[in-house]
């Protein structure tokens, strides 16, 4: 009998900071104390607070340790597990604003207190490689209920009633999508799980598959029953090795238990799942390109209609849902559509998982009810920008989305509000930018990504994005004019209107939204030839403060173009602007901070 469980995060984030070695060390230290029959070490999925990883949770004490190193393990075992004294210095804490005292209870810590976990309900709580732990927390109950007590149409009606919308970005109502496929008369249909998560900075699908793969498998089987399909594919990128491995284990275990395969729950219903690995092309997240890739063809989109629900993989009716969408479904079936519909806003029900990244204190994964404001997510949960820098913007929806500014912070987040503001929900990546980020440079970064990822099938996207990138580079390097800005906007609108698939149609969004909200930064680049955030190197002027200069000559020594001159120990050094290539080496070399950028 175990009295204590030591839960160690084995998600990608914590694994890369050696959490698997921690597991071994814990097991050894526990054996040394002869506690192995009382204490179990469990590998779990992501706890969400990736910034503070590796995370170790001790239950039933509900103690969360952060930044645990191999050297801390003995102390935790000897003090906490043996003597019952939690190691305070490693505990995750918050400061109570009223009493100014430290808060240790994890439910009260702001990062967790504001969250509502539905899709992530089991992440960080169960061992994803043990199906019985999933079963213990109501796993496969929804599948049993669906197969034994509901008709396929009942299931679809329940989905419609819940108001669940696709979490991959589009926000299409899931129930309607299933209805289209169910209405098709065909002997073969398919269910696809889209796990081709490609937005820079987004990692919610990966975390769900790593932390709770069975929820996705169960939901895909439910979807198969609802539309009349017997075969499913999980299309996942090969660069998610941990997720792929856990998914394989989960599929195998589910088959062994008779919850996947032929004659599921002895009802005669048959469903199989196959994993297809993608090579990591962004465009393969687009459903028609994804289907082409599954069929072994080059991943390029095709014209819709016909929609996949009519003619999808192998020309058969197919539904494609995102990982997070699937993860919500067992909870909806178990707890009821009315419960789910009671969470969120009028048109966006339930919760949404966001991956917080960029200039934010608590980088990590959070799940909040729809309708939570950006301010709550960024400041209360995320902890705001580090180093007391000023918030400038938040980029949502990745390369297809846009930037939102300070004035939008109190907007409740839902599908429609974000689109109305010129951005989009996307898959849930949220990159926070502060005063040190140049918005023109951000637009250039995303366009660079799109140029790489454009498949090249249609002209507006293939050539249009390349030309937009060239214009953005001109602006950041000081060659832009007011005419460049006009041309950029015109071209952006053309690419948006005339591209074949979602990738091209949304590729202009970062440009258009930064032009709309940060026109003054663009103008500073083209008129004053200055970068207000001091990011665009070509627009910076370097000078040396005579009073701070100690005449050591290190700057001149490191200058690759001999643009700095002076006399060692006698005369302050000066930069020759004509020779300076703005590489910034002198700033790095000066021990006295005497070199100024403007």
């Amino acid at each position: 009998m175990e009295r204590t469980h030591v839960l160690v995060c084995a998600g990608t984030g914590c694994t890369s900071s050696k959490s698997l070695e921690l597991v071994k060390r814990f097991e050894e230290a526990i054996r040394m104390k002869d506690l192995q029959s009382e204490i179990k070490v469990v590998k779990t999925g992501c706890f969400g607070l990736c910034q503070k990883g590796p995370i170790v949770a001790i239950h039933p004490d509900k103690v969360f340790y952060s930044h645990v190193t191999l050297g801390d393990v003995d102390e935790i075992v000897n003090e906490h597990l043996y003597k019952g004294r939690p190691v305070k210095r490693l505990e995750i804490t918050d400061i109570d604003e009223e009493t100014k005292e430290a808060i240790f209870e994890f439910e009260k810590i702001k990062f967790y207190a504001k969250q509502k976990r539905i899709a992530l309900r089991n992440c960080g709580l169960i061992n994803p490689e043990d199906v019985t732990e999933y079963i213990a927390l109501d796993g496969y109950q929804a599948l049993a209920k669906v197969l034994m007590t509901m008709t396929p149409q009942n299931v679809i009606d329940e989905m419609k009633k819940s108001g669940l919308r696709g979490r991959g970005g589009g926000g299409f109502p899931t129930g309607n999508k299933w209805q289209f496929a169910a209405n098709q008369v065909n002997d073969e249909k398919y269910v696809i799980c889209n796990a081709d998560e490609g937005d820079p900075g987004a990692f919610m699908d990966r975390s769900i598959l790593e932390g709770d793969p069975h929820s996705v498998i169960e939901a895909m089987t439910i979807a198969g029953y609802a539309i009349g399909a017997h075969h499913g594919y999980v299309y996942i990128r090969a660069e998610y090795p941990i997720a792929v491995e856990r998914l394989k284990i989960a599929i195998q275990q589910s088959e062994e238990y008779g919850m996947l395969g032929d004659n599921i729950f002895n009802t005669g219903f048959k469903f199989n799942i196959e994993i297809r690995l993608g090579a990591g092309a962004f465009v393969c997240g687009e459903e028609t390109a994804l289907i082409a890739s599954i069929e072994g063809r080059r991943g390029m989109p095709s014209v819709k209609p016909p929609f996949p629900a009519v003619k999808g993989v192998w020309g058969k009716p197919t539904i494609i849902n995102n990982v997070e969408t699937f993860a919500n479904i067992p909870a909806i079936i178990n707890t009821g559509a009315d419960w789910f519909a009671s969470i969120g806003t009028e048109k966006s029900k339930g919760t949404k998982v966001f991956a917080l990244g960029g200039k934010i204190v608590n980088t990590g994964l959070v799940e909040v009810p729809m309708g939570t404001t950006l301010r709550e997510v960024i400041y209360e949960i995320g902890g705001g920008c580090p180093n007391h820098k000023n918030f400038k913007a938040v980029q949502t929806g990745g390369p297809s989305g846009g930037c939102l500014t300070e004035e939008h912070l109190d907007t409740p987040i839902d599908f429609d509000n974000l689109i109305a503001l010129g951005s989009m929900m996307g898959s849930g990546g949220m990159i926070i930018l502060d005063e040190d980020n140049c918005m023109v440079d951000v637009a250039r970064f995303y366009m660079d990504f799109i140029v790489d990822e454009s498949c090249g099938k249609c002209t507006p996207c293939r050539i249009g994005t390349k030309r937009m990138l060239e214009m953005l580079i001109d602006i950041t390097e000081g060659r832009g004019t007011l005419q460049t800005l006009t041309d950029l906007e015109t071209l952006a609108l053309h690419v948006k209107d005339s591209s074949l698939c979602g990738l091209g149609q949304t590729a202009s969004n970062p440009v258009l939204s930064t032009l709309k909200h940060f026109k003054h930064e663009y103008l500073a680049h083209v008129i004053d030839k200055k970068c207000p955030a001091k990011v665009c190197k070509a627009l910076l002027d370097y000078s040396i403060d005579k009073d701070l200069c100690k005449k050591c000559g290190l700057c001149a020594k490191g200058c690759p173009t001999t643009a700095i001159s002076g006399v060692l120990g006698k005369e302050a050094y000066v930069v020759d602007a004509a020779k300076c290539i703005r590489c910034g080496a002198c700033v790095q070399n000066c021990p006295f901070g005497a070199i100024e950028r403007a």
């Binding site: 039933p60 019952g84 019985t132 496969y140 049993a144 238990y257 002895n266």
Partner: protein, 119 residues
Amino acid sequence: MKSLDELNKIREAALLKVNLRQNNAQYRILVGMATCGIAAGARPVMKTFLDAIDKDQLPVTLQQTGCIGMCIHEPIVEIIDQAGTKTTYLEVTAAKASEIIESHLKQGKILEAYTHVTK
């Protein structure tokens, strides 16, 4: 897997494994296990609770806690119910622990006598 019954059986068995990670135990048992507690014999006491929880599948969690300053009355065992009411047993031995399990944990009857100071 042939039926819902079968699934529920697996669920019941597995629930015992993960229950202690959730907040739904009927009682929380805290055993004082600082140096004073261990020296006074807290480990056999804890072992008694552990074996009983295992054998009778009791819906309780067992935690170790530190010294509360009454070292002379160790081993100290605190039992907290779902309403948060705390009962403190003093100078517990393995034999007393067995009685506490039978009376308090199984029947909900507090053993008044063991909550008093005898030394």
